[in-house]
Amino acid sequence: MTGGWRRQRALIDFAVANMARRRGRNLGLFLAYTLVVFLISGVVLYGDALRREARALLADAPELVVQRLTAGRHDLIPAGWTETLAGLRGVTAVQGRLWGYHYDPALGANLTLWVPLEDAPLPGQVQIGSALAREKGLGRDDVLSFRDAYGKPFPFAVAGTLERQSELANADLMLVNEKDFRAFFAFPQGMFTDLALSVRNPREVRKVAEKVLERLPAARVISREEMARTYEAAFNWRQGLLLSVLSVLLLAFALLAWDKASGLSAEERREIGILKAVGWETGDVLAMKLWEGGLLSLTAFLAGYILAWLHVFHADAPLFTAVLKGWSVLYPRFALVPEVNVAQLASLAFLTVLPYVAATLVPVWRAATLDPDGVMRE
């Protein structure tokens, strides 16, 4: 060990002892600090997780979705449109999609019935979202029955549940076969809910959308980019709103930290005077005080972040649900998929630790530059 490192260790030791001696005061600051980190981390973790869910939702979406509008309302699309669009330059594939909503009175929620373009379940079978499975207590081979378009019971055998990569995307989802779908909803043959267009070059998406509208003036074209931006804007706005509310709290906390750091008691001034009189240099006292702040920040940050993590990913984030989620239909239970990433941790440290450091730096420096001979003049 070199002298420089030994010096730092001695300063850390003293800083720890110093904090332990003022337990009551430091505990209050620690709790306030932890609360601030908890709230801000919570908003960021929750918002980022929702964003990730939305991205997962869109990851498999086609570049363009074409809907038909009749009198301004979403209408079913005849299969003939498929050929009309297949010939467009830049379009690699056009597929008709089938999906719709079914209201389940027992659950009080809308379920989404979806016919996957590939690997659809066998007739009479269904794959269901994990939230739905949980809420209805369903497992493999159980039978799920709903009243169809004619009011008769329509049974589906559960072939499996959907994996939990994204709960937002498939919590209320039922994947069914095309034949069952048409039978259940009495959906006319030769009609689709909408069309999925694949476009190879992302730079041509806009051009293709324009050409679709030229050929089919009654169509509405939605691009994946546009949906992504809509989601993004909605989340950003909500998250930004919450963060700006919390920034007031952050400011209050910074003021508290500043006040605590600058309002040195007579006892503390005397102690710093003693340290300087017995040979501690201004830089030594400064380093010791910075260690105090650093250790407090580290522990409060970890405590706040871990609590926020548990709140968001294991307790369903009751504090934020109403504001941030908002746009979704009723979900029986909503568990986000956890993720840790370094950029997010760095952002959070910038947003929470930096205000503390900034607020305490000048008071700490003032304390460290107290006159050493004050001790003699008492």
Binding site: R229, E232, G240, A343, A346, S347, L348, L351, L354
Partner: protein, 330 residues
Amino acid sequence: MIFQPPALALLFASSLNALMLTGVGLFALYLLVRWNPASGGEAQIALERRTHLASTLVALSLVLGLPALALFVHTADAMAPFFIGAMCAIGSLKANVWGFPALYTMLAGFFLAAAWLVLNHLDNRGWDYPLIRPKYGLLLLLAPLALAQAVLLWLYFLDLQPAVITSCCGSLFGPAAEGVGHDLAALPVQWARPAYGLVWGLTLASGGLFLARGRGGRVFGVLSGLHLPAALAAVVAFVSLYIYEEPNHHCPFCLLQAEHGHAGWLLYPLLFLGTAAGVGAGLAMGVRADSLQDAGPLAARKLAWVAMAGIGGFGLLAWGYVWRSNLVLG
């Protein structure tokens, strides 16, 4: 306008940084006029005490600078999907005119702050404040840079239009591009490889000589500085090709992505830290002051070790990628 948490964090950190360094810069002006070590008067002591605050603030600025730089590049990379045509950080940075200037000021700020901390360390070792004037003179450069960086970051994030069509890295480093990026990419691998090897070898040799014999510290400093552009040119000219295993993909930013094993996150920190330490070692050997006859070489040695580890590590890693690659070029 994109206000995700990383963007907010960067804006906050850079604004705070600008505020701190502007304050320190104003203090530097005041100090350069009033500094009088012969006086033991109250004013001089007060001035001396303020230098503690100034050096703490610049140290904090450096501590912020490197993670902020990393966060900025990472955010740019992560935002790429929101711009049409963007494939990596380049597309996001080129989404408006402020991106690259902001990146350059952050890089320059990092190297200047590192140089300042070396001067500060040495100055604290001499009993008569031997470097106080060059040190505070340098702050007059650092402060406006920090201000420019904050302004550029604000402009960048405020001016981001999500739907904008931007360019991908191919347009900067591809065969059809123009400018420095293209020129570097067009360097024939056959001679870019030995050329970089020569610069790298010379830099390490001069560092080795300095550590063994205590001579040539300033030469090592200069070579470490020159090694940086050579290393960046090498990344564009050939290292990238071997990592992507594609003969025409020269982008230095795609290296940061997970598909390529985060190679950039290993290469660039080593390179930047090594360069800063190497230049710092040269600086420590270059200062002339009676009170630093022992402290200068001592600090230079420590810095030279760090520089050798950084620059040596960067080169070894780069050659490792070249060697292990499945791509065969000339």
